[in-house]
Symmetry: C2
Subunit: 237 residues, 2 copies
Amino acid sequence: MDWEPGLSIWKQIEKLLLSDIADGVFAPGDKMPTEMELVRRFGVNRHTVRRAMAALVDANVVRVEQGRGAFVQEQILDYPLGSKTRFSQIVSGRHRLPDKRLISSEILKANANIAQFLDVKPGTRVIELFSVSEADGIPLAVATSYLPVARFEGIVEIFTQTKSLTEAFKHFGIDDYSRKTTRISAQLPSSRVASLLKQAKNRPVISTESVDVDASGVPIEYGITAFSSDRVQLIVE
Amino acid sequence: MDWEPGLSIWKQIEKLLLSDIADGVFAPGDKMPTEMELVRRFGVNRHTVRRAMAALVDANVVRVEQGRGAFVQEQILDYPLGSKTRFSQIVSGRHRLPDKRLISSEILKANANIAQFLDVKPGTRVIELFSVSEADGIPLAVATSYLPVARFEGIVEIFTQTKSLTEAFKHFGIDDYSRKTTRISAQLPSSRVASLLKQAKNRPVISTESVDVDASGVPIEYGITAFSSDRVQLIVE
DNA sequence: TAGGTATAGACGTCTAGACAAATTATGAAT
DNA sequence: ATTCATAATTTGTCTAGACGTCTATACCTA
């Protein structure tokens, strides 16, 4: 390898790796070569390689995990937590193709927790929707939603067609609804969630618990959502 | 020096320097000790000191200049460039005390440039105001403003009292005005500007050229402002 | 087969030294 | 006193090596 004078070697290595990533040689999520492999490729000291990688980490282009390696950072989606936040709008606004796939649905009796959030009596029949939200085919979040059966009988079919809760609500005369509360926490995903998110079990998820209400303030949905922390960043304004 | 186990030495040094800065041992704008002095103080290798300093630079707490040293970074003020941007509001909003001192004023005939921006005939008499804007006594910007004499005769006295163009305009029946255009560039300051800004001549300034108009769109002020790039950051939304 | 252990692989930290690049201080010559 | 070249200071880059910490895997044992 021969280096141009005037620009430090680590900056040139940074550029080379950056263009490799831009060209798709290392795709988002891919494992980068190890430091020693890069040392051999560029013929420099390991510290010089590390200086270049540090710059890429700083630029949020790669993510390094001790003992495992460096990985190309997936573009993180900023997800604003407003009262009128709509998943599809956010994703389309970033020129990415949103999709919401229903994994399973069933009707069950509300436990105390669900009943409280939906403001119904425990034992009331509710619909449970389990879905995965994706952008360009990359899973961003898995959500479990609970809706009262009495008001939304048959919503499953509509949701399956429209792939949007917002659209489905419209079929039930709800043109406007808003987020009431959102609680945020972080945790490690269950095997099932990790699998659906296609992410490692030791990478954390951002978990939100929320209640949506219609225009008159009546709860219409209680949901628990697990966002991939590598792909989504929640924004509170 | 003895180090706690479990936390890397450079992080501990970073913390120590950070608390020194927080305690005012090194005040904003002050020169930090040289790397070699820190090496002697902490009894570690120079690279370890550099790692700690790099973290502080990354956190925008200090600024390093090759050959000169490291300096405690003054808190940079975010200056939004909206159409209704008011200097005093921005500064007070950051819990800092705004002040605008008039350095000089004179009446002269508009040259082609000034006339064009103010939409008057060349040769029309205009007032030139030369002022310094400060926050907590620290100069942030120097501004040269041009206003048509015909409309604002006697504004100098009012500006000197109120120390605000916004207030002065109100005395002339202008309760609302807005920014029409703003051009932004960067350059090195003249000796006079550098002196008024109390900054080094080799530190750049952000220069803006702007026209303010009243509610009916008539130009009322043409101004050139030089912001200290170490203390102000312009925000365009 | 399940579980624990040993080991290798990979990144993190620290030290040591040399030279380059930018700035500042010094001192001589005019 | 000013100017200019030189030296000293100070930060930037690169190399070299050692050891620590974390992860994943292979292997051994019960």
